[in-house]
């Protein structure tokens, strides 16, 4: 069946086109709109984008396959990216991945049997100071331990991704875990979170100290 964007998203495409001097530059933003609606870039989506942006489907396929975040096959309802690059691995990234595989019953690169979660290994997600971390859909969950991870996944299953993010995602507070049971435990001091923000704007400890 032919793919079409919703009228609201169609309007967004029109607006996006005004941002660039060339039509082709809208390709990434338009692919994002399509993937948000359809879940993945199916051949029908590629066909639609091809017509809308006057590009060949070969060009679109070349672009889609270059970037890790565009899916050229269907994925689960939620996509979990677990960061395994060095900073996260130094703080337990492997333990987090092992736990996810056990809990979801599938290895990285696969989708859970109920179709709820696709688990993928990620390369560095720019959250190194709040390691270990995972990204679920659009949101970061940082300073994790396995108990916290369980709470987050359970909230996804029970209430859906947006509600889980509202309760647990650290995005809005740059690393600060949220929710009543929010404190992730590491053998390090309390997760940096709000403190990190203060630390970040604190004068160096060896200065005269009159500012803090």
């Amino acid at each position: 069946m032919a793919f079409a964007l919703t009228p609201e998203r169609e309007q967004q495409v029109d607006e996006i086109l005004t941002r660039y001097p060339e039509r082709r530059a809208a390709l990434l933003p338009v692919l994002w709109l399509c993937q948000r609606q359809n879940g993945w870039i199916s051949p029908e989506v590629a066909e639609y984008v091809s017509k809308r942006l006057e590009l060949s489907t070969a060009v679109i396929k070349g672009v889609v396959t270059f970037y890790t975040m565009f899916f050229d096959e269907p994925v689960g309802e939620n996509v979990v990216w677990v960061c395994r690059t060095l900073s996260c691995d130094l703080r337990g990234g492997k333990a987090i991945q092992d736990h996810l595989e056990k809990k979801l019953g599938c290895a990285a690169g696969h989708t859970s049997a109920d179709g709820k979660f696709t688990l993928l290994k990620a390369e560095c997600l720019a959250a190194c100071g709040q390691a270990p971390m995972v990204q679920i859909n659009d949101y970061y969950y940082e300073n994790l331990n396995v108990q916290q991870l369980d709470r987050i996944l359970d909230a996804h299953a029970a209430k859906g991704g947006e509600a889980a993010a509202a309760e647990f995602s650290s995005c809005a507070s740059f690393g600060a875990p949220r929710g009543s049971n929010g404190g992730a435990v590491t053998s390090a001091p309390p997760p940096p979170t709000k403190e990190a923000v203060r630390v970040a704007s604190r004068p160096p400890p060896d200065s005269t100290g009159d500012e803090s």
């Binding site: 082709r24 270059f66 060095l86 720019a126 959250a127 190194c128 100071g129 659009d138 053998s187 004068p203």
Partner: protein
């Protein structure tokens, strides 16, 4: 160093909203700059500031701006690189999430200074949250009349757009970024022409890092000389945001002058090595910067050596600057350090990073596409007990054949840290070649029980 500058609004309640940011001083400098200053004056201040690019290469931003020389009818673009992906680096995200108006204000002043009318902020696709924060901030600034046809009432239209990437480390390379902005695969372009001559959409383009642009309002407010003097090193001015991750007690971000030492950063800012364990190694500024070994001493007996002042001191006691670190045989990079305690096996750590490069090579150039994979194969052999002593020199050989033989700096950024690892921890590689690694070797031995919740 007294008051924080770049991070001064991080602690403000809902600092990302225009009203709150403005109460804390946002857009005052832009208003003054656009209504009362001339673009050439502003460029001169940035030049005097000795602002070394904050994205990793450390090129002087003022000099880069000076490369612009548009021909008749060409329009200039400003592109802000927010593709923060260098392993270990997480500073730009804090600016976008906690003070997006500082970046927008910097973009407005910079556009005016370089005679650009459009700025694109290229944000890595994973940072959907930051994309939204920036889009909201831009909408507020437009509504307030700071962007649009007549920003602050002057006749110099400026608009800022956010462009989300979709997952590709290489798009942090400026010409790959431009291709991605234009809707193409993020493959780096052959240079010359450099972006300042032929960049976005074939037009003269300046590509600057987020933190670089976010520094511009302070530079214009204080004056380039005064801002430069905040730093402790000649030709490398101001303050910057340092990050520390890995095995420290207090990982996070810290604003400090240019020129503090790695020892200060780890011990005084980041609370020291986790649980007081010995420091084994530190990767100073993102994974492409060769590792530092605290046991190694600076060898600069010659009086005219740039590091002579630190002769005989530990590598981590040299002030962190673009030029000092280059003289030390590494790079300052993004100033976000990855700290490793004595439990870490360097061969395994190296394998982790080389897997990253293998995954992220765009594949255009043979030495990089094949070299990154080959390095991982050799390291896998060493780790799995299938290695032989000659493999250690093979790692060096592969690296040397990657460097300088590709379109962009990615291959060098892979080969340099690889060479640094072998040079500084050769014995560990030789041990692995003979014995392999124990089956249970992992990086997180020192934190594992707390992450897994086992006593």
């Amino acid at each position: 160093m007294s008051k924080p500058l770049l991070t001064s609004r991080y602690g403000v309640e809902e600092s990302w909203k225009l009203a709150n940011a403005e109460r804390a001083g946002a857009y005052e400098v832009a208003r003054q700059a656009l209504t009362a200053r001339k673009p050439a004056e502003l460029r001169e201040e940035v030049k005097k500031a000795n602002l070394r690019g904050r994205g990793g290469a450390g090129f002087p931003a003022g000099v880069k701006w000076g490369f612009l020389n548009p021909e008749e009818g060409e329009r200039i673009y400003l592109v802000i690189n927010a593709d923060e992906s260098e392993p270990g680096t997480f500073k730009d995200r804090s600016i976008m999430d906690l003070d997006p108006h500082r970046l927008v204000e910097g973009a407005i002043i910079s556009c005016f200074a370089i005679d650009a009318h459009v700025a694109y902020i290229y944000v890595r696709g994973e940072l959907a949250f930051s994309v939204n924060r920036l889009e909201e901030a831009i909408a507020e600034a437009r509504q307030a009349g700071y962007l649009g046809e007549r920003p602050f009432g002057i006749d110099h239209p400026i608009d800022v757009h956010v462009h989300a990437g979709a997952g590709a480390y290489i798009c942090g390379e400026e010409t790959a970024l431009l291709n991605s902005l234009e809707g193409r695969r993020g493959e780096p372009r052959l240079k010359p022409p450099f972006p300042a001559v032929k960049g976005a959409f074939g037009m003269p383009t300046i590509v600057n890092n987020v933190e670089t642009i976010a520094s511009v309002p302070d530079i214009i407010e204080m004056g380039g000389d005064a801002w430069s003097a905040l730093g402790r090193l000649p030709g490398d001015g101001g303050v910057r945001i340092y990050g520390v991750s890995g095995h420290v007690n207090n990982p996070g971000l810290f604003e400090a002058p240019v020129g503090i030492t790695m020892r200060e950063l780890i011990d005084d800012y980041a609370g020291g090595v986790l649980d007081g364990r010995p420091l084994k190694a530190v990767i100073p500024g993102g994974s492409s910067t060769p590792v530092l070994d605290p046991q190694r001493k600076v060898d600069a007996p010659n009086e005219d050596h740039p590091l002579h002042k630190w002769h005989g001191q530990s590598e981590i006691d040299v002030p962190m600057g673009v030029d000092t670190y280059r003289a030390l045989g590494t790079m300052l990079g993004t100033c976000c350090a990855i700290v490793m305690d004595d439990t870490v096996n360097m061969v395994e750590a190296c394998r982790n990073l080389m897997r990253f490069y293998k995954h992220e090579s765009c594949g255009q150039c043979t030495p990089c596409r094949e070299g990154t994979g080959w390095l991982v194969d050799v390291l896998d052999g060493l780790c799995n007990g299938r290695g032989k002593p000659e493999d250690v020199d093979l790692l060096v050989d592969i690296s040397n054949n990657m460097m300088g033989n590709t379109i962009c700096a990615f291959a060098d950024g892979t080969a340099m840290p690889m060479l640094g690892m072998v040079q500084k921890f050769r014995q560990e590689f030789m041990d692995a070649a003979v014995h392999g690694l124990p089956d249970d070797v992992r990086h997180d031995a020192s934190v594992r029980s707390s992450v897994e919740g086992v006593a």
